[in-house]
């Protein structure tokens, strides 16, 4: 029907054109770069090669990918361990207070990322509040090296992404039908057993969403390793940055970008599958 086609074009056309032009084309170009050689003075020589990919699995870069994955994985696990009980506590709070509690959790998430990260430089440096506190309590005699290492990066990532984890798990828990939990207790399960056998399995989609989110945003992160790692610990994001702005090796930077996106897509896809499976098995958690 021509009329509905016109309507579709008016509604979708402008936005999709924009995205096609400034998202699809640039990313497509980047993908193409990955198969060409680096120019002598930076830029691209349009000679087909697969060398960028073989270079990316060189132990040097492989170890950077592994370090990034390890840091991202640690951040995800720690964020889950802190976030799940917090989400649970909010979901069990009186209904009229839950929104306020959640807004309070989410608020820092929407403020400036650089500043939130900077705060940890202030807190963690040798003269910072944490070291001073520890010294004041007589727990350490020498200031601990808290900044510019893996610990600092993981702390920064957990701090920045914890709000989302709490939110994702909260929405899973709050969708839980309370009668299912009562049924479990009615059938003789203790509260801890109900948690392990019923609550946790049913809220797994939220856990997966939160974990994948933290992992995906962490593994490709640039600011946190840059500021809190102080250049001493390289992650993929920093290497990509260097390839473009320092080494001026665009094809290799593009290759690394695409491997990164590939890893993220696999994770997001598995998470979507998990959610679909959970919905297929027991609609209760998503009723």
């Amino acid at each position: 029907m021509p009329r509905s086609l016109l309507r579709d074009w008016l509604l979708l056309g402008p936005g999709l054109t924009w995205l096609a032009l400034f998202l699809v084309v640039p990313c497509g170009m980047l993908l193409v770069f990955a198969f060409f050689e680096r120019g002598v003075y930076g830029g691209i020589d349009y000679i087909f090669t697969l060398e960028n990919f073989s270079r990316a699995i060189d132990p040097l870069y492989l170890s950077i990918f592994l370090t990034s994955a390890k840091v991202a994985g640690l951040a995800a696990v720690i964020a889950l361990l802190i976030g799940y009980p917090a989400a649970y506590a909010i979901a069990r709070a009186p209904a009229r207070r839950q929104t306020a509690y959640l807004v309070l959790v989410m608020l820092p998430f929407w403020s400036n990322y650089l500043i939130r990260t900077y705060a940890w430089i202030v807190l963690l440096n040798r003269e910072g509040l944490v070291n001073k506190g520890l010294a004041g309590l007589g727990l350490v005699s020498e200031p601990l090296p808290l900044l510019y290492n893996e610990f600092a990066i993981v702390t920064g990532l957990v701090y920045n992404y914890l709000p989302f984890v709490v939110l994702a798990i909260y929405s899973s828990i709050s969708r839980l039908n309370p009668e299912v939990l009562e049924a479990s207790e009615d059938l003789g399960a203790s509260a801890p057993r109900t948690f392990w056998r019923v609550t946790l399995p049913l809220t797994l989609p939220g856990v997966a969403a939160g974990a994948v989110f933290v992992f995906v945003l962490s593994i490709g992160n640039f600011i946190t390793p840059d500021l809190l790692g102080g250049g001493r610990l390289q992650m993929v994001g920093n290497v990509i940055y260097d390839q473009f702005l320092t080494a001026r090796d665009w094809p290799f930077g593009a290759t690394l970008s695409f491997i990164l996106i590939g890893i993220m897509m696999i994770l997001l896809f598995s998470q979507a599958m998990l959610v679909r499976k959970a919905q297929g098995e027991g609609g209760i958690a998503h009723a």
Binding site: L11, L19, L30, L102, W110, L123, F164, F244, S257
Partner: protein, 260 residues
């Protein structure tokens, strides 16, 4: 009497709030520290706020940020809201869905270099306008997502009812759809504005050389990266308060912006 489990959950939640807010509070307190050192309290002073107000570079950066945020928000809100209605009007394929989801999850650094390469290859002069073009990309996706959430809670029969009562599709859009999604559009716009104000890497890559198109996050980054200056605490305080106010306003306009 609360059970022990309940007690520990409550205690844990309090600790989480401490974890989230202590770093922010420390910056805010330090912004009033006379000596400007992060290590010791030397007395209350507003002088860093004064320094902030006098720094031409910071004022310039703030103005640039405002220009980028306002223009990219207006554009993204317009395009994103239209997209949202178009996407919800009829089920769309997974390809379109992926295209709208991608800007929200692609690492900033990747989108930044993709756009930089694109602009460079086209010999496009970089500046505030290229930052704006780039910010619209991810802002469209966020505005669209917020507005779609609102649209999903509607009974679509309402739009048929309007047509049944004699309205054309254009009139239905203006008289029914627009007023109904307005809170969502407003919330989406506020979200887009906040994101644009805070965005660093993409702006950094697409701003081009020279100081003229430095934005506030770029200014903050260089202040952090190349030696901590005491003004940064004052600036952090101002930026945080502005963001918090915006997010709370957006939350009021439309439940569900901050995800709640």
């Amino acid at each position: 009497m609360p059970s022990p489990a309940r007690f520990w959950l409550g205690a844990h939640l309090r600790l989480v709030y401490l974890f989230l807010y202590v770093p922010i509070a420390v910056l805010m307190v330090l912004s009033f520290n006379r000596a400007g050192l992060p290590t010791a309290w030397t007395g209350f002073s507003l002088k860093w706020y004064g320094a902030l107000a006098e720094s031409q570079a910071i004022i310039n950066a703030a103005l640039n940020t405002l220009i980028v945020a306002v223009i990219s928000t207006v554009l993204a809100t317009l395009l994103g809201a239209l997209l949202a209605v178009g996407m919800e009007y009829r089920r769309r394929g997974p390809g379109l869905e992926a295209m709208l989801f991608a800007p929200m999850i692609i690492p900033d650094i990747v989108l930044a270099i993709a756009l930089l390469s694109f602009f460079t290859l086209l010999d496009f002069t970089l500046g505030l306008h290229s930052i704006i073009l780039s910010h619209v990309v991810f802002n469209i996706a966020f505005v669209c997502a917020v507005v779609r959430t609102r649209l999903r809670s509607f009974d679509w029969a309402v739009f048929e009812a309007s047509v049944d009562l004699g309205a054309s599709e254009a009139t239905t859009f203006r008289r029914i759809i627009l007023p109904m999604i307005f809170p969502g559009v407003l919330a989406g716009a506020m979200l887009a504005f906040t994101l644009s104000v805070d965005e660093f890497i993409i702006a950094y890559f697409t701003a081009g050389a020279g100081q003229s198109s430095t934005t506030l996050p770029m200014q903050i980054y260089s202040m952090i990266r190349f030696g901590v200056t005491p003004e940064i605490n004052a600036m952090a305080t101002v930026v945080m308060l502005v963001s918090f106010t915006l997010v709370l306003l957006a939350q009021r306009a439309n439940k569900g912006v901050v995800g709640v």
